[in-house]
Each structure stands twice: as C-alpha cells, then as structure tokens.
C-alpha cells in the first residue's frame, strides 16, 4: 500500500475495558432486578385486589355474617357483620367514600386496571434494560477476546461519490417525474388522437380497401362488440391468438404498407363504448375533414413520449396492443381505426432514439407484410 495510512486500528479493549463493560452490565442487571421486585410487589397488590373484589361481591349475599372480631392484637370475640352492602372505601390521601358493594367493585376494578398498566410499563422497561445488558455483555466479551475496531476515514471518496449518487438519484427522480408527465400527456394525446382519428381516419384512409372493409364488416362489428366485452376478462393468450388470426381473415390486408392499424393505447376497457360511438359517427356523421397535420403531430408527440417513457410504457402498450386489437377484432380495426401514420413514426425512429415502444407496432407490421 503506497497510499498514506487511511485508517486506524484500535483494539476494542482499549476503548472499552472489559471490566468497565462488565461493571456496566452488572449495574443494568441490578436495575433489572429492582424493577422485577417492583413488578412482584405490584403483582401481589393485584392479587390482593382480586381477592378483595371477590369478597366484596360476596358480602351482600347475606344480610349478616358471623365473624370473629379482632380485639387488640391477640384477642378475638364473636360478632356479626351487618349492613353488608355498605362500604367505606379509601380513595387515597385519607379520603373515604360511602359506597355500595357494586360501586366498590367498580372502584376496585379500576384500581386493578391501573396496576396492570403499571406492570406492563415495567415489563417494557425491563425488556429494554435486558437488551442493554446483553449489549454490554457482548462488548465485554468482544473486548476480552481482543477484537479490534478498524476505522477508515471516508473523506477522499465521499465528495465525488456523494455527488455522483445524489446526481444519479436526482436524475432518476427527474426522469421518473418526466416520465409521469409524458405518460399523462400521452394519455391525453391518445384520447385526443383517437377522437381525431375516428373522424380523421375517414379522410386518411379513404382508400378503396377501407371502404370495402367498412361496408363488408359493419355487421360483424356489432357482433364483435359483444364479444369484445366478454373477451376483456379472458386471458392474454386468447387475445394474442385473435391478433394472429386477424390479418388472415381481414380483407383489408392489402391496405398499403405504409398504413398500419392504429392501436389505441388506452386500456381495452374503454374500447367498446368508443366503438359504439365510432360506428355511430361513421354512420350518422359525414366524415369531417380534420387537418392531417394535427393528427400527425399528435401521433408524433405520442410516439416521442413512447420513446421517452420507455420503461413503463412498452409493457402496458404491448398488453393493450393485444387487448385493443382483439377487442376491435380484425374487422373493427380495419373498419374504423386505420390511420396513416407510419411516416411520422419512421421519422421519429430515424431522427430520435429508436422507440422501444414501437417494437410491438413494427412486429405487427411485419405480420401484416
């Protein structure tokens, strides 16, 4: 070690001599025994109190009791106990009160409770003291065994490391908060987007295939709505099966490569109501032209979000991918939710960090190709 000596080695016995530790432990032990004596005394009080309660309860059973009355220290004479329901109870501090048997018993019970709580307190104290004593004993034995205490100054590394760790923690906290923000934004965007998409998709995907699918599958949509509700509760495996089957039976398969199924990342549970709404809007409302730009910006921002909020988002997204696509069912997905958005995403993927969340999307695309 070329470094200057960093630490010091001191034998524990030089810090705490074994005799001192022993003495301390003995002292603690003494206080423990004292407390135990106190507890015993309180326990006897408690027992006496209980017997007294029993006696007081029994006394008014008879109108009078034959007793031997103490007379002086050694002598007794026969007598009778009358007024068996009248007690003069010492409340403490020289105060007495006339009470009936029942009232006396109540007083005595209160006193018993007080004693119990005192005993409990003492038991707690003894527990602590015992722990202390064991600690002292340990140090005493350790000192006797010649255990050494090694102290090293932590000065050199502390500043850097501290900074690093705090910075890391700060970063982490910041990232987390940022992620939360982004997720919120994302949710909002998605909501907006899906609304916009529902209206906008009619514009965007107004190609022939879409029209075809719409016309041919509108009936199926309704039936699959019911299915979808049931499917919410089913496991993800079944959902995945659905998704895999989707492309096969969908006539919308030949839709241009660039378009992909817009997957609402909102939880699947919100899908059915939206679907209904969605159909309605399609049936009743004429396709309202919504600017494509708006859609695309929304989409891009959401995908940005996705790339930033990578840690949490992908999982939920994947789940919701399957869920939503299944709830939509192939037909639904293609009747309604086709959005032309790929160019945005591809831009994002090129320009920015490869979004991990885009994985499910790309996989989906691959399936469809």
């Amino acid at each position: 070690m070329s470094n200057p000596v960093k630490g010091t080695v001191t034998s524990l016995s030089s810090l705490y001599s074994p005799e001192d530790a022993q003495k301390a432990s003995i002292r603690v032990q003494e206080t423990i025994t004292e407390h135990q004596k106190n507890i015993q005394q309180l326990q006897t009080f408690l027992n006496e109190n209980n017997t007294l309660i029993n006696l007081v309860k029994k006394l008014p059973d008879k109108l009078n009791h034959d007793i031997m009355v103490p007379f002086g220290k050694a002598a007794f004479f026969p007598g009778k106990l009358i007024h068996t329901n009248e007690f003069m109870v010492l409340l403490g501090e020289g105060y007495y009160a006339d009470r009936t048997s029942k009232q006396t018993v109540e007083i005595l019970k209160r006193r018993g409770k007080d004693l119990e709580s005192q005993i409990e307190n003492l038991n707690g104290i003894i527990k602590d003291l015992k722990f202390e004593a064991s600690f002292f004993d340990e140090t005493a034995t350790e000192a006797a065994e010649g255990i050494v205490e090694i102290r090293e100054d932590y000065v050199e590394e502390t500043p850097n490391e501290d900074k690093a760790t705090t910075a890391g923690e700060d970063d982490f906290a910041r990232i987390l908060s940022r992620m939360e923000e982004l997720e919120k934004e994302e949710l909002e965007n998605e909501e907006l987007e899906s609304e916009v998409a529902e209206e906008g998709e009619d514009l965007d995907t107004a190609d022939l295939s879409h029209l075809m699918s719409r016309t041919s599958f509108e009936t199926e949509v309704k039936s699959s709505e019911v299915e979808a509700k049931n499917e919410h509760s089913t496991s993800q495996i079944s959902l995945r099966n659905d998704t895999q089957q989707d492309p096969k039976d969908s006539p919308a398969f030949p839709v241009s490569k660039d378009s992909y199924v817009k997957v609402p990342t909102l939880s699947g549970s919100e899908a059915p109501p939206r679907l209904v709404e969605h159909n309605k809007s399609k049936n009743s409302l004429p396709p309202t032209p919504v600017s494509k730009n708006e859609v695309s910006t929304l989409a891009s921002s959401s995908s940005n979000d996705r790339s930033n909020a990578s840690a949490i988002a992908p999982v939920s997204k994947e789940v919701s991918n399957h869920g939503s696509s299944s709830t939509n069912d192939s037909s639904k997905a293609f009747t309604g939710s086709i959005v032309e958005r790929t160019h945005n995403i591809e831009n994002n993927q090129k320009g920015q960090t490869p979004a991990p969340a885009s994985k499910p999307v790309s996989r989906f695309k691959m399936q469809r190709r």
Binding site: M88, L91, G92, E93, G94, Y95, Y96, A97, D98, R99, I107, R110, R111, D114
Partner: protein, 133 residues
C-alpha cells in the same frame, strides 16, 4: 528553599483538593436527597390524581369523609374535590421547584468535578517536576 516552597504549595493544593472533594460529596448527597423527595412527591401526585378521578365518578349525594388523625370527618364532595385539586397543584409546583434545584445542584456538581480534575492535574505535574528535580 525551593523544594520546601514547592512542597508547601503541593500541600496547599492537597488541602484545596480535599475541601473541594468534601463539597462535591455534599452536593451529591443533596442531589440524592432531592431525588428521594421527588420520588415521594411523584407517588403522591399519582395517588391524588387517582382520588380526583374517583371523586369525579362519585354521585353528588355521596358521602365523602376525610381521615384526620384518628377520626373520619365528613366532607362535602365539592369541598373534597377542591382540596384534592389544590393538593395536586401544590405537588406539581413542588415538583417543578425540585427539578430546578436538582438542575442547579447538578451544574454545581459538574463545575466542582472539573475544578477537582484540574487540581489533580496540577498536583500530578508538580509531583512529576519534583521527581525530575
């Protein structure tokens, strides 16, 4: 000459030390006495509080007696209540007073201990000087 003066100085210091040690032991005695009194008062306070609780639970028309010497004197419930309350107040005040005195005494004790420690050091250094000479 020098040695005799130094020895006399040492003797003075020794005397001083003894006097201070005596003072310290006196203070410690006072403290322990104070602690005992405090303990007694705390017990009394607990008892008084118990009495007050019981008096509060009594009916208005209950007969309350106070043992004065060998006789039980009948007392009004309200009167007894007021008495007990006054007693509790008194005991609390007394406890506070005792606390402050104990604090004072402990401060005195610490200063005395320090003084004694310094004296011991001086005596030691003196003895060491003597041993050298």
């Amino acid at each position: 000459m020098a040695s005799s003066s130094s020895s006399s100085a040492a003797r003075d210091l020794q005397k001083d030390l003894e006097a201070k040690a005596n003072d310290l032991s006196k203070i410690q005695k006072d403290i322990s006495k104070n602690h005992q009194v405090r303990k007694k008062y705390t017990i009394q306070l607990g008892e008084n509080e118990l009495v007050l609780k019981e008096l509060d639970l009594l009916n208005e028309d209950a007969n309350v007696y106070k043992l004065i010497g060998p006789v039980l004197v009948k007392q009004d419930l309200a009167e007894a209540n007021a008495n007990v309350k006054k007693r509790i107040e008194y005991i609390s005040a007394e406890l506070k007073r005792l606390d402050s005195t104990v604090q004072d005494l402990e401060e005195k004790q610490n200063s005395k201990k320090e003084a004694i420690f310094k004296l011991q050091q001086r005596i030691q250094s003196l003895q060491a000087g003597k041993a050298k000479a």
